[in-house]
């Protein structure tokens, strides 16, 4: 591969054949053959229905699939020899490239951004290959605000089960909102859209050699857009269906969310320390976005992991947390499960103390992030208990309380940042 080029010669040749486009839809994949076919068919249908005259392309950035994923994406093409059953005004290229290095969403995104830059795409969307509920209308809802309203970043809002996305609800969303003054419900999106302006800017940022350039990059993009005061909106997409997957690695997830957010505090101090006007992020088509069907959850396990973590990591917490916070958490670890409550203010304070500890690197930064995991389980347990019988509105109110707790506790972070404890 040529020096300093992340795009292979073969891929560049394919991009030459595509030429300038109006719309680019990126699909990052790695062994997604079970679901990607349906996803790209949804993309194609959306492009044909809502942007029939636009010059469009589907770009698959793949991490080395061995299950035929790439062929399934290529099969979405419409040209004069393929896909001729579709009533399409013009050719729709659907091309695939395997990027260098291990599978990483950030590398995939970088590939997509580079392709968008070369093709001068005016509006780009990225969709998850895992989505089993991707509807053609998602393409319209993500891209139209960019194409017609001049938005730079369009984030999704999903209808989620009330116990889905606990990390997003209890940490990523409230922390992003409190720190940066922008209420985006899915700051770490799987399906989103952005303008060429934001895309090119982000491509040229110096993130790609760092961890946030490989994992959690979508969150970093959101933060860059907020900090850069780009125009942001949200679009309601509906239910996000996914195949049942094994339980996610919470440590990895914590690195890609909390770790990345903590890192951003060092990169964007003026943005979160100063008194900035909140950045609006209007939501189009938003409706009650919580589904309430019953779900079996292992609360006992969460409680056990919290108490185990408190006891096993005591020396670590000593170096991270203030004494009062640590004492409160130790007290919580001693109460029975049915009395356990890790309230919003305590949770917010805990997170901020971790953020400050990360900043000061009191111990290895990765250890700081990892140590947050058992404490998050405690917060998750509280969220489950609080909302077990709650209505949609009550859940929304509870979530708002968490956000307000983070906003209220933010001065403590400012104080800790400069060396206080």
């Amino acid at each position: 591969m040529p020096d300093e080029s992340i795009l292979s010669d073969e891929f560049i040749r394919e991009l030459i054949n595509v030429g300038e486009v109006d719309i680019l839809v990126g699909v990052p994949t790695h062994n997604d053959a079970r679901t990607v076919g349906q996803a790209v068919q949804g993309v194609r249908a959306g492009l044909l229905k809502y942007f029939p005259r636009a010059r469009s392309v589907i770009i698959n950035a793949d991490g080395g699939s061995r299950d035929g994923t790439r062929d399934l994406v290529r099969a979405a093409s419409i040209n004069d020899t393929f896909g001729t059953n579709f009533p399409a005004l013009r050719t729709l290229h659907s091309i695939s490239t395997q990027y260098e290095g291990p599978p990483a969403s950030g590398t995939a995104l970088r590939t997509i951004l580079a392709a968008a830059d070369l093709l001068q795409a005016k509006a780009c969307a990225v969709v998850s290959p895992e989505s089993t509920s991707l509807e053609p209308q998602w393409i319209e809802r993500l891209l139209l605000p960019v194409v017609q309203e001049g938005m730079d970043l369009v984030l999704p809002v999903y209808r989620r089960h009330k116990f889905d996305g606990l990390l997003i609800r209890n940490l990523v969303y409230p922390l992003t909102r409190a720190l940066y003054g922008c209420s985006v419900r899915e700051p770490y999106p799987s399906d989103y859209a952005f303008s060429s302006n934001l895309g090119t800017n982000f491509l040229n940022q110096n993130v790609w050699a760092q961890e946030q350039g490989r994992h959690g990059t979508e969150l970093w993009l959101t933060l860059a857009a907020i900090v850069g005061r780009y125009k942001i909106s949200q679009s309601f997409l509906g239910t996000r269906g996914r195949l049942e997957t094994p339980p996610s690695d919470l440590v990895k997830a914590m690195r890609e969310t909390a770790g990345l957010l903590f890192c951003s505090l060092d990169c964007y101090p003026a943005a979160w320390q100063g008194a900035r006007e909140p950045l609006p992020a209007p939501c189009s088509g938003c409706q009650p976005a919580v589904s309430l069907e019953p779900m079996r959850l292992n609360r006992k396990r969460l409680h056990q992991m919290f108490t185990f973590g408190i006891s096993q990591l005591e020396p670590v917490f000593d170096s991270i947390l203030s004494a009062p916070t640590h004492e409160e958490l130790k007290r919580l670890a001693s109460v029975p499960e049915n009395e356990f409550v890790l309230l919003g203010p305590l949770w917010a304070r805990t997170v901020y103390e971790f953020a400050a500890a990360y900043h000061r690197a009191v111990i290895g930064r990765d250890h700081v992030v990892q140590a947050l995991v058992p404490l998050f389980r405690g917060r998750a347990l509280t969220f489950l208990q609080e909302n077990r019988e709650a209505s949609e509105i009550e859940i929304e109110n509870n979530l708002e309380k968490v956000c307000q707790a983070f906003e209220a506790e933010k001065p403590s972070l400012l104080q800790l940042w400069d060396g206080g404890k």
């Binding site: 030459i16 030429g19 005004l89």
Partner: protein
């Protein structure tokens, strides 16, 4: 008659469509005429065309620009006499130019003596020469063609107190082709002109000849029988003459008009034309390749007729709703440009007077399989006047020079049959034959070169066609073959420079010779053949083994 008696002459033809009225006025009455047209034959000969298609010139009240005929055996006095026509025909043949005339068989003018007799009484011998009915409910569901002006295919005749059938304007009653006496009379009319030496007939509005209850009254088997009969008679008595079908239908429906090579010799490929415009606007070859892939094979002695523009609106009947909306939005933003499911504009204005696009479109016209037709005035880039109503905006006087009436007529300007174009871009001062003759790089000079190169080989008119499908969808590439001769045509449909890799492995070892400059291009090897092309550029290459 031209010296070369080739029964397939129409495959090598380059046709020039002209309206006598619009071309050159020798008499000073404000209308073009046959003496004037004869005087301009040298111009046409120099241009390089070898066939002229004349729009209707028979006597007519001219309510549909001559397509409403009131006498099939004469010449409209505005254009001269029968002798004038004979002289013109003779002069054309001396220059090797064949002549196609219109034969409107579907309908006549309501001023035609046949109709006057037919309507006079229900017992008149010619009553049944037209289609009469007591009610206007027969043939329900038959589409109306002139949507902008007609509400029904039936019109009430107050004279004979019945309805008569008309697929076009209400003053153009349809003839009844179920009547054998009518058929014989029409054949007699055709013989009249064939005896004079006319080389071919363009049969207007042919799908609508016969109507039957419970059908859409188009393309019926009985219509095909009528044509087959006329063709058989013509082949017997006048071998080497040609029948050209005007049938605005999908390719699959058009195929029937060729039958087994015993019906029409040629037919217009209507669906291709809007897709050429679409391809250039979309910068995507897909519309073009798709319609040609849907085009069925035709008998060896038959030929498609290709055109970019003509005297009618750029028809959008044979496209999808999505495509029609796109074409309207891109090519007829002003709703006044839209007429009867089409766009009434000339070639140059449609292409924003972009010389490169005009050349590209003409290049495709001349290189695709079929016989090309140039609409008069498009060889110099004439403009249109949509304010003239109906389709008259594309039928303005030919612009010969920058002088009096653009050199079209010595009459006072107020007497001209149509105002001449005046605007600074397309007016006769800016666009005329005289000034373009002065420069080697004028559009006129370029068109002459194009036609000369086209005629330098029989491949374009008679050869096969095979698409290449380079990955760059902005490039339309195809190979034309006839015997040992192979030509590669590559068209960049895009407004920006393009690189394209062509799979020419089948021609490995050959070299490419560009046909206009005759320069040699690199030999074809194992690797894809890389070409870089400027905006809207096209290449014609001979593939030669040295």
């Amino acid at each position: 008659m031209p010296a070369q008696q080739d029964s397939l002459w129409y495959k090598d033809a380059v046709i020039y469509q002209v309206h006598v009225r619009s071309f050159y006025d020798s008499s000073g009455d404000g209308n073009g005429d046959f003496r004037g047209l004869a005087q301009k034959l040298d111009y046409l000969h120099e241009l390089g065309i070898n066939t002229v298609w004349l729009m209707p010139f028979f006597p007519s009240p001219l309510r549909d620009d001559g397509y409403d005929i009131s006498d099939y055996r004469s010449v409209n006095p505005l254009y001269g006499t029968l002798d004038d026509f004979r002289s013109f025909l003779d002069a054309a043949h001396k220059r090797g130019i064949r002549v196609i005339i219109e034969m409107v068989l579907n309908h006549t003018s309501d001023q035609h003596p046949w109709f006057q007799e037919s309507r006079s009484s229900r017992s008149n011998p010619r009553r049944d020469w037209y289609v009469w009915s007591d009610s206007d409910t027969k043939y329900k569901g038959t589409r109306i063609i002139f949507l902008d002006t007609e509400l029904s295919n039936w019109a009430w005749d107050p004279v004979s107190k019945q309805y008569y059938w008309h697929r076009f304007f209400s003053h153009q009653p349809d003839l009844n082709w179920d009547n054998s006496a009518l058929r014989e009379e029409v054949w007699s009319v055709m013989k009249f002109w064939l005896d004079m030496g006319v080389d071919a007939f363009r049969l207007d509005a042919i799908p609508y000849l016969v109507e039957r209850e419970g059908t859409n009254c188009e393309n019926l088997p009985e219509t095909h029988e009528v044509i087959k009969d006329l063709r058989a008679r013509m082949d017997r008595e006048y071998p080497g003459r040609m029948l050209l079908a005007e049938a605005n239908q999908w390719p699959a429906d058009l195929r029937a008009y060729f039958a087994n090579g015993d019906e029409f010799h040629m037919a217009f490929h209507f669906p291709l034309m809007p897709r050429m415009f679409m391809g250039v606007k979309l910068e995507d070859r897909k519309p073009i390749t798709e319609i040609l892939k849907q085009t069925p094979e035709i008998p060896d002695n038959c030929q498609w007729c290709l055109f970019l523009r003509n005297h009618d609106e750029l028809t959008l009947e044979m496209v999808t709703d999505l495509e029609r909306d796109y074409m309207y939005d891109e090519y007829a933003k002003d709703k006044a440009m839209r007429l009867n499911l089409g766009i009434r504009r000339r070639l140059a204005p449609l292409l924003d007077n972009d010389r490169r696009r005009i050349e590209l479109m003409n290049g495709m016209l001349m290189s695709m399989p079929g016989t090309p037709i140039i609409y008069y005035g498009d060889e110099i880039g004439m403009g249109d006047n949509i304010n003239l109503g109906d389709r008259n905006g594309v039928r303005t006087p030919m612009q010969w020079d920058g002088g009096w009436n653009g050199g079209f007529s010595p009459a006072d300007p107020e007497m001209l049959y149509s105002p001449i174009m005046l605007n600074p871009v397309y007016g006769y001062h800016a666009v005329n034959v005289q000034s373009q003759k002065r420069f080697d790089h004028s559009l006129l000079a370029w068109m002459k070169r194009l036609i000369r190169v086209r005629k330098s080989t029989a491949v374009f008119g008679r050869g096969s066609m095979q698409f290449l499908y380079p990955a760059n969808h902005r490039v339309l590439a195809y190979v034309r073959k006839l015997g040992n001769e192979t030509i590669l045509v590559v068209n960049n449909l895009s407004s920006s420079a393009q690189a394209v890799e062509l799979d020419l492995k089948a021609y490995k070892g050959n070299i490419l010779v560009e046909m206009f400059g005759r320069n040699v291009f690199p030999r074809i090897g194992d690797l894809p053949y890389l070409l870089t092309m400027g905006p809207y550029q096209f290449y014609w290459f001979k593939i030669r083994r040295v």
